[in-house]
Amino acid sequence: MPAPAGRDPHLVVVGASLAGLRAAESARRSGFTGAITLVGAEEHLPYDRPPLSKDFLTTDAEPAPTLLRDETVLRDLDIHLRLGTTATGLDTEDRVVATDAGDVAFTSLVLATGATPRMLPGAGRLRGVHVLRTLDDARAIRRAVDAGARTVVVGAGFIGSEIASSARARGCDVTVVEALPTPLARPVGETMGRVLAALHEKHGTRLRVGVGVDGLEGDGDVRAVRLADGTRIQADLVVIGIGVTPNVAWLAGSGLEIGDGVECDAHLCAGVAGVYAAGDIARWHNPTFDTRMRLEHWTIAAEQGGVAGRNAVDPAAATAFETVPYFWSDWYGKRIQMVGVASGADEIATVAGDPDGDTFVVLYRHGDRLLGALTLEARSQVMKYRAMLATGASWEDALAFAKERAAKAAAKTVALSSADGTSAPL
């Protein structure tokens, strides 16, 4: 990337969470010797978000946040942090990022500003109503859970379900309300959405589906959630988990193509030389599935950050980003894992365990190809299917593999049962 005349090479990364941190690190590790500045809106050092809806809420005492890197690691990599600094605009001609603490000139840029949870209209005015994205959000929710709050979670997606699970683990009375008739239909399909949703009731969380929220009641503090069918659910804590919006408003007027996120090419370039995007805001063409995707997964943020950082400082050697999407979610002590995609599936097949039981492996077919795999408590199996998806495995091959694996597991179970009366897991 030719730097503008008289300007020393300077990679600016906007967004100091996972994608941004990985971009800065990988640029440095790829041999870039110019300055690197990591700009983050939050005051905290880059921390890991997945634990916030899980262990952070369930431990007896509030744990320290899980930092993604020690400050010393960042110092050793000569990455300059500008925390508590919000980007407000981008000038792609002068190559300057405007922030609430002044302008930052760049020669290369990675956009990784993530996403903001959607709020119910008017809901934020009452105390006790939260979303969960940041450490500060998690601390507020934790305080309420510590006090045994009657909890209503609005939205039965993954984040809402994890919060429900964590609040249950702490003994709270929990209701999840979902406006759609089937939770999680988009990420896992309707059939499996129903299967996963059943975990809530199995663990004492009430689930109301197909009914929207009419309004929240309270007198400063939230007191109840009123549903569209007139039901009133008493609540001391309401957590809204109805999805996120990519943080791209600040890029208006930059000349970048903004649609559902920042429109990127196969290399994650945002259409201006040396300007790349990664994580929740990046929409790009994923060759593995031959479709444009924007994903809000931890793994995508990590992987894309790495590629965008390298590509931004050495566009001549830029590589395309392709991946098999992976996400996980932990509910009631059980691990849900998904590789590939569910949307567009022509068929689903259970190849191990039982969807009504404690463990299963379900495969998704599109045409004659494997499209995805969803597992519950089958950690030893899921990545086998990720590998198959990466090479475009046929449906037939996937079924044959599953059959062989099931046969081996059965043989092992028989051997073990005859030896000591126990059975082997999947």
């Binding site: 990985r22 690190e25 990988s26 590790r29 997945p50 931890w298 793994t299 990590a302 992987e303 790495g306 098999v324 992976y326 996980w328 691990r335 894992q337 950690r379 030893s380 899921v382 990545m383 990720r386 590998a387 990466a390 082997a424 897991p425 999947l426």
Partner: protein, 63 residues
Amino acid sequence: MQIHTDTDLCTGHGICESILPAVFEVGNDGQVHLLDTPLTEDMRPLLESAVAECPSRALSLEG
């Protein structure tokens, strides 16, 4: 060059297995295990990816 897994941190996502199936495999115990494949210098970039992309920060590479 040596790779270490911290069994207190590993929760068996298996990202490492999907990056280097010859080296890592998640077992029925839900934890990653190192296979017998000798580590070679040409694996270094992939090993570094496995370390960087572990959601539990359970891997480290030495040497």
